[in-house]
């Protein structure tokens, strides 16, 4: 029941619709090693490394099966689907972090992926992480200096005392996620991919980040958001892709797709 809906609301139709991400029949296959079928002995492992032969116990997981879509400038697109439906995998492929098995992804500029597991430099202070993160993203030293206070304020790390000068390994998972998001959101991205990165923040921070996502869209960027919180998707996205078992089930305006999704999942 693949319903392709092309005419997304006319809010963006007044400008020319410029594509920023084109996925063309994208297939992604994971290779998982050590599933137990092969010989686990040390000599067997050594000979595999030397002969550069893939492990016998390798299994392939077809995580994304032939997904095609086009994302346009200024759009904010939500990705929904049950756990393991291929949402995160799809984002990784768009970010260029996973090779496509078949098909291609074209993007405008370099997309940035924000995930829950993306630890930065744990042994360094929050302050150093802000500076180094900014420099790594290609900001100049002046730009980093100019935005430093904004980034720290936005993250809210210093609300309960001077935490920014502590090493990041001492942060709670929520604090670390907030700082990571603040660093990544400081730069104007053409394409920003957010993978449940907001789920760990508190309510006030979620509100701030939703506002920042809307701002990024206004700056002619495209934002992808994976979330299991349908309200968060409703608040920030105008288009939703519904993935199930690696296939694109539905692509259309937020309300329609979420209504169908909630009906299907019996919510």
């Amino acid at each position: 029941m693949a319903e392709q809906m092309d005419g997304v609301p006319s809010t963006t139709a007044t400008q020319e619709r410029i594509p920023t991400v084109i996925a063309d029949e994208l297939h992604i296959v994971y290779r998982v090693y050590g599933t137990g079928a092969g010989k686990g002995s040390a000599t067997a492992a050594l000979s595999r490394i030397i002969r550069r032969r893939p492990s016998v116990g390798m299994r392939e997981v077809h995580a994304v099966k032939g997904v095609s879509f086009t994302a346009y400038r200024g759009e904010s697109i939500g990705l929904i689907g049950s756990n393991g439906s291929g949402k995160s995998t799809l984002l990784k492929a768009v970010a260029g972090l996973l090779p496509a098995e078949r098909g291609k992804v074209y993007t405008h500029g370099q997309p940035s992926l924000l995930g829950v597991n993306a630890a930065l430099m744990n042994d360094l202070t929050g302050e150093k992480n802000v500076i180094l993160g900014g420099l790594a993203m290609g900001m100049s030293r002046e730009q980093v200096r100019a935005r430093y206070d904004d980034i720290v304020d936005f993250s809210g790390i210093n609300e309960k005392g001077d935490f920014i000068s502590l090493p990041m390994r001492t942060y709670s998972s929520g604090m670390a996620a907030r700082l990571r998001f603040s660093i990544a959101a400081a730069k104007d991205h053409d394409v920003l991919l957010i993978d449940e990165a907001l789920a760990t923040g508190d309510r006030a921070f979620q509100k701030r980040s939703e506002a920042r996502i809307r701002e990024l869209r206004k700056e002619a960027g495209t934002v992808f958001l994976v979330s299991h919180n349908n309200n968060s998707i409703r608040d920030t996205c105008d288009r939703v892709l519904w993935l199930e078992r690696g296939e694109l089930l539905m692509d259309g305006p937020t309300d329609e797709v979420i209504k169908a999704y909630e009906k299907e999942t019996g919510k």
Binding site: A13, E16, P19, S68, T107, N117, A119, N122, A136, M137
Partner: protein, 312 residues
């Protein structure tokens, strides 16, 4: 920007039928029309160097941040920057200088040994850091986009900064053992620069290998130790070889060994009793050759796998 004149025309059409402008184009044609690039593709070599240059502040800031963080969990903190190389030299002096007696026939043995240990440690720790440069920073690699060569280069720069602390210790030791500063001390600068380039090239090769086979980090200490014993760190190659009949190729191999080349150059620069006659033949040519070979080959080898780091 080049499509500014088209924009007004296209938008008028788009009002009535939004997708019509691009209908009939294949995804590839549309991607080309709007200047989209394939995601995760490796940039060309010239473009890669340009991106790397644009991240030079990141490279230096990352190196200094890592350097100061290194001993942040130790109670004595930055004192270890100086204490570690000093203790290292002391251990080698106890074993090789006093117990085994390789000091025979080597004048100014303590400066000779300490220079050897410090200079070899520079290469050793650069290679070790290179091996873990990608595999030990997967979080960073997966979170942010930057040319991955930043990491091995940055780690080698950190080792260079570390070496400067050691060189400070070395100067004190040299003065304490009666060496007088001369103009030849300045030769240390070009020699260290060449060694740094050599180290970085080697670290980039190891970074690529280590990213695919993290087991290398377990294996490398043994390889590096073997290399150290063959590099004349605690003995003089020319003294050992004197009066012995070794095959010519062994002699060539011992003398052209890059670690031995850089160590001997710096000994020659700093220690009065280490004469030019003790240097291997064509030593500067070898120093330059190794640096260029490792630097260029290592960089290209690393760049060839740029799109594959941090995947899977």
């Amino acid at each position: 920007m080049s499509t500014v004149s088209e924009t007004t025309h296209d938008s008028a059409v788009a009002m009535s039928a939004p997708p019509s402008a691009d209908e009939g184009l294949t995804p590839l044609q549309r991607a080309q029309k709007y200047d989209l690039a394939q995601s995760g593709a490796r940039p060309g070599l010239a473009e890669y160097i340009r991106q790397l240059w644009a991240r030079r502040h990141f490279i230096s800031a990352f190196a200094s941040a890592k350097l100061t963080a290194q001993f942040s969990q130790a109670k004595l903190g930055q004192v270890w920057q100086v204490a570690t190389p000093l203790l290292n030299a002391l251990v080698y002096y106890l074993i090789f200088g006093l117990l085994i007696g390789t000091r025979k026939g080597v004048p100014d043995y303590v400066p000779f040994l300490v220079t050897g240990v410090f200079i070899f440690t520079f290469t050793q720790s650069s290679v070790m850091a290179g091996t873990r440069a990608i595999s030990g920073n997967l979080g960073l690699v997966r979170a942010l986009h930057f040319p991955r060569a930043c990491l091995p280069i940055s780690f080698c720069l950190m080792q260079l900064q570390q070496l400067l602390f050691s060189m400070g210790v070395l100067v004190v030791i040299l003065l304490a053992f009666g060496q007088v500063p001369t103009w030849s001390w300045l030769l240390v600068l070009p020699a260290l620069l060449l060694q740094f380039v050599f180290n970085t090239g080697l670290a980039m090769v190891m970074a690529r290998l280590g990213s695919k086979t993290p087991d290398l980090a377990q294996l490398m200490p043994f390889i590096m130790r073997t290399w150290m014993y063959a590099s004349g760190v605690m003995f003089s190659i020319s003294v050992i070889l004197k009066g012995k009949h070794v095959p010519h190729w062994v002699e060539v191999l011992l003398y052209s060994n890059p670690a031995a080349v850089y160590i001997d150059l710096i000994r020659f620069a700093l220690i009065d009793s280490f004469k030019a006659s003790q240097l291997p033949p064509h030593v500067w040519a070898f120093a330059l050759g190794w640096a260029v070979l490792a630097g260029v080959a290592g960089f290209v080898y690393f760049w060839k796998a740029e799109e594959r780091y941090g995947r899977g």
